[in-house]
C-alpha cells in the first residue's frame, strides 16, 4: 500500500481579486473623506455628556471664539457686527446650514450670547455648541 501525497500542487492564494477589493475600499474612502478645511483658533473646548454627532459634515459652518474674545469664521477673523450679513449670505446659498460654535471654555458667556443674537438675525437657527465627550456619556 502506497500513500501518495495528493496535494502536490503548490498552495497559492488567489491574488487576482485583491486589486478589485482595494479599489472598492478606495472608492469608499474617497467618497467618505471630507477634508478638514479650516484650521481655526486654538480653543479648549468644554466637555459634556449629552453630546451628539453632527452627521452632515458638509453643511457645517464653524465659528471659533477663543478665550481672548477673538472671533473667527471659516478661518477668517471677523467682528460681531459682520457676522449677521455674512451668515445671511451663507443661509441663502444653503438654508440647511448648521453653525458649530467652537468656543473656549474660559470665554465669557456674553460673547457667545452676542454671537447667538447675530445668528438669530441672520436666521441661522441650527446651532451646535462644540464639546468634547466626557467619560460615561453615550452616543
Amino acid at each position: 500500500m502506497k500513500v501518495t501525497a495528493k496535494n502536490k500542487g503548490s498552495a497559492k492564494i488567489p491574488t487576482a481579486s485583491i486589486a478589485d477589493i482595494v479599489f472598492l475600499l478606495l472608492i469608499f474612502f474617497m467618497s467618505v473623506t471630507v477634508f478638514k478645511q479650516f484650521q481655526g483658533l486654538k480653543v479648549e473646548l468644554p466637555a459634556a455628556k449629552a453630546t451628539k454627532k453632527i452627521e452632515k459634515k458638509r453643511i457645517i459652518t464653524h465659528i471659533w471664539i477663543d478665550s481672548e474674545n477673538h472671533l473667527n469664521i471659516d478661518d477668517m477673523p471677523i467682528t460681531l457686527q459682520k457676522i449677521a450679513p455674512l451668515m445671511s449670505k451663507k443661509m441663502q446659498e444653503n438654508p440647511a446650514i448648521i453653525v458649530s460654535v467652537r468656543a473656549d471654555k474660559h470665554a465669557k458667556y456674553g460673547i457667545v450670547a452676542q454671537l447667538l443674537e447675530e445668528l438669530k438675525k441672520s436666521n441661522a437657527l441650527r446651532v451646535n455648541f462644540a464639546t468634547l465627550t466626557k467619560g460615561g456619556g453615550t452616543s
Binding site: A19, P46, A50, K52, I65, V112, L125, N128
Partner: protein, 147 residues
C-alpha cells in the same frame, strides 16, 4: 500587391496596457485616503434658536428658570445648587409638569464652561424623560443676558 500587404500586417499582435502596477497605485491612493480621513466627527450640543421677532408667550407656571451668575453659581427656584444637582431637579419638575420650558439664564460675565455644563445637565434630564416617553419634546431656551 494587395495580397502582399495583407501578409505583412502585424497589427494582430496584442496591444496591452501593463496592469501589474495598477494594484500598487491603487494601494498608495488607498493609504493616502486612509490617512487623511478624519474619523472623529464634529460633536456637540445641538440647539435650535427661536426665529427673530417671534415671541412665544409663556405662562409663569410653565417656565423653569435656571440662573447662572458671574461666579458660576447656579440657582433653581430659590435654591443655590451645584451643577450635578441640576439634572435631578429639572427631572423632578418636568415630571410634575411635562409642558415645562427650561430657560437657562446665564450672566454675560459667567464662563462659557459653566453654561455648557448646565446645558448638558438639562439635556441629560430631557434625555432620561425621553427614554420613558419617546414623544417627549425637549424645550430649552437660552435667555439673552443684558450687556
Amino acid at each position: 500587391m494587395a495580397l502582399k500587404l495583407h501578409g505583412k500586417q502585424h497589427i494582430n499582435k496584442d496591444a496591452e496596457i501593463p496592469t501589474a502596477s495598477l494594484a500598487d497605485i491603487v494601494f498608495l491612493l488607498l493609504i493616502f485616503f486612509l490617512v487623511t480621513t478624519s474619523m472623529n466627527p464634529d460633536k456637540g450640543l445641538g440647539l435650535t434658536l427661536p426665529p427673530p421677532g417671534k415671541e412665544v408667550k409663556l405662562t409663569k407656571e410653565n417656565v423653569l428658570s435656571v440662573y447662572i451668575n458671574s461666579e458660576g453659581k447656579i440657582l433653581i427656584g430659590e435654591e443655590i445648587i451645584t451643577s450635578d444637582q441640576i439634572r435631578e431637579r429639572v427631572e423632578k419638575r418636568l415630571n410634575e409638569n411635562p409642558e415645562l420650558v427650561v430657560s437657562l439664564v446665564t450672566d454675560a460675565k459667567a464662563d462659557y464652561n459653566s453654561m455648557v455644563n448646565a446645558l448638558d445637565e438639562i439635556k441629560l434630564a430631557f434625555k432620561d424623560l425621553k427614554k420613558e416617553n419617546p414623544k417627549f419634546k425637549e424645550k430649552i431656551s437660552l435667555a439673552t443676558p443684558v450687556f
